[in-house]
Amino acid sequence: MIIIRPAYDRETRATHAIAGLIVPQLPLCRDLSGSQATRLNLQRTLQQNPTVTIVAFYGHGEKDRLFGHSLWNLVGRSLVRSEPTKLLPPEVVSRNVYAVACRAGVLLGPALARSGGRFIGYNDDFVLTIGFEAEFGAVVNDVLLALTQNWGSPNSCQAVLADAWNKLIDDFTYGAKSDIPRAFLVARDALVNREGVAAF
């Protein structure tokens, strides 16, 4: 699998660090980290590894795209993008994409599914409670690990990710962490993420 984790602003530095925790446990063929997270590098890596099925992305997303690394700390450049009749780069066609990013489930997810690939991510904002990055990271990383072992049907994948968020919600509402200050905020943010889960 390929993992992509740009790091050019506060949010991507956080998701970059979260992804870094799972990297040693993954059967990786390439870690496109920081400034390596560009479309060109992704394209080359996919060309060199045609049998790779899973592409994991941690960073910013929009409805139709995922953003790669930006040299100027501004908006990242499009890394993967869906257009009305095609996917860019074309090498991403038929791959399975796991996106820890906002909104890419709206257009990019269905486009990947139409191309013969699969997608798991979010239809809406991805929310992170500040100070609880480790807890949120554990959810998204554990799910990625599970997907590397068995990327099931869209429904089962959606259930796996939703259940992982539910577990975090439960921990912070009536479980061991419900007494931690801001537990309600963690549970709320996790609920928002759970409601945004999208799988195609």
Binding site: D9, E11, A14, H60, C102, R103, V106, L107, P110, N123, D124, D125, F126, V127, L128, T129, I130, G131, I169, D170, T173, Y174, S178, D179, P181, R182, A183, F184, L185, A187, R188, D189, L191, V192, E195, G196
Partner: protein, 169 residues
Amino acid sequence: MVALHATRMELTSYLIQTSTKLLSHARNQISRRRWVGSLPVTVSQPQSGLRLTRYYTSYTLSVIEYYPVLEGLMIRTSQNVSPELKAEIKQALRDWVGSLSRSDARAPATNVSGKEYTPLEILKAVEDETEFGVEFLSSLCSLHEHMAKRRPGLSVVALIRRSLAPSAT
């Protein structure tokens, strides 16, 4: 899961009776693709025999675009939350922010799609009923429902109050 059934005429009638503010909120929610959730929506139009049932997919939203009357469904579901619960949550949020030290109240607490909010900003957004504020309150109501389903008797209001800084409790 909730199943909603209504004729087009019923929904239109319902919409006419609805305030502009709620309608605006519904439009915001629709545009942000949150409200549909796992809600199956069925609309029947007996005269034409048209019957539409869609789930949480992008196609649902295209159906909504052609049938703006569906916005009424959002309003109906949003009204299922009791005003008392919303008022209690707001008060608990005020108490929570009031209990925090000056620095904690001004320190970023949550990051929503790249934008950070401090407890003070969250409270102001809720009080001013900004888009984020309305969503924040609505999500706490959803959390309340989720908690009650998992463990009857649990309350989001009590959970918020558990976050009050010790000197205020």
